[in-house]
Amino acid sequence: MAAGVRELRRRIRGFKNTQQITKAMKMVAAAKLLKAQERATTARPYAEKIDAMLRRVLAAHGAAGGKLDGTGAVEALMVERPVNKVIYVVLTSDRGLSGSYNANIIRLAEAQVKERQGTPTASIVPVGRKAFDYFAKRHYDIVAKHVPVGDEATFAQAKQISSELTALYASGTADEVNLVYSEFVNAMTYRPTVSRLFPIGRPEGEAGERAAAPAGAEVDYIYEPSGPEVLNALLPRYVQVRVFRALLEARASEHGARMTAMGMATDNASEMIERLTLDMNRARQAAITREIAEIVGGAEALK
């Protein structure tokens, strides 16, 4: 049974190699996660200020009536219209080995598409290779794509995606644009989310803000060059920030998911190695015992 021992030894070596890789990937993912989290944190003040500013400008201009701007360019992005075409922007990673991260997002996106099938036709804008591969293979209507997305979200990337989506919405190619991405909760938890980008709703948290500062909100601002012009410049920026935040969340989730998945793989490998080592030792013991028995038996026979 010496062959059994050799075989076991070979398998243990194989698991050790795998473990080395998964361990390295886990560590790399941990480092990237840290960086991604930091970027998400540093991006927050800007996002909050833009939100607050947009809320204030909208309040000052009685946006409730929808009469914002003579040109109508701004209203077009905010006013709801009958939805005939929906776009789902699906943010995944480029690479796998990240547990159920991509599968969860894709499943959510597909469920959304199926749920709304019929009246509105759905198109996909994949951001990340995994999403593109999945939806392209199944012949979904892909109107734009961003592949690969890379490991790090940049504002330039967010800008490019935003301007594309804005053009799609403004041209009437879509009547609604949704972002499907993973919200980062912590390294173990990430929540697949759908959030509407167009038409632009009022920034979140508005109700609370109103209630909190009923008088303060009425401060009269001077707008330079003019309210509508400020709003015109502000809205695209707001869209970019929304996309940027989704990208940041997606990246942080990806690295978190990969770290967890690779940590688990490393643990599983350890367990397998332990079990195989035990088997190997047992097989070796058995072989030695048998050999001794044979030698003793042989010596007996010679007597």
Partner: protein, 155 residues
């Protein structure tokens, strides 16, 4: 934040990538969409569109500079916030890189006649490079607004 009436105005400069600055100042000059404008403590609430340019702010009687590339400027209650796409403090600008960028932009603009170079983008990068050099103190400071007029009309 400086309390109201203390003669100081708090300036915060924020980009999507980071918080660039948060300091008390005596006065601020920003590149508004319709020209440079100064803000002193106690200014009325205001929101201004910014274009690419140099932000100057006074501390202890002397000016410090920042380059910003577009964005918004908000003043309320002795607090001023600049939300810029990118912003750099004068002292952290890499002058050599800015000079190289300036050269590249000039070449692209010069080549515009024969090729279909994106002129608007080249103009913008030229302007950004000049602004960064000026913020770093490595280019002569022009009278406000003059630099823009030297070049073909923007937008």
């Amino acid at each position: 934040m400086a309390p109201a009436g203390s003669g100081k105005i708090r300036l915060e400069v924020i980009t999507p990538e980071r918080v660039v600055l948060g300091e008390d100042t005596e006065s601020i000059i920003v590149p508004g969409a319709r020209g440079y404008m100064g803000v002193l403590p106690g200014h009325a609430p205001m929101v201004v569109n910014l274009k690419i340019g140099v932000v100057k702010f006074k501390q202890g009687g002397s000016y410090r500079r920042l380059s910003v590339s577009g964005g918004f400027f908000e003043v309320a209650e002795d607090k001023a916030v600049i939300l810029a796409e990118t912003a750099e403090r004068g002292e952290e600008i890499d002058v050599n890189r800015a000079k190289a960028a300036l050269e590249r932009a000039r070449k692209r603009l010069a080549a515009r006649r024969d090729a279909t170079v994106d002129a608007a983008r080249a103009e913008a990068s030229l302007q950004r490079a000049v602004t960064r050099l000026r913020a770093a103190g490595a280019a002569p400071e022009k009278v406000f607004g003059q630099a823009e007029r030297e070049r073909p009309e923007q937008e």
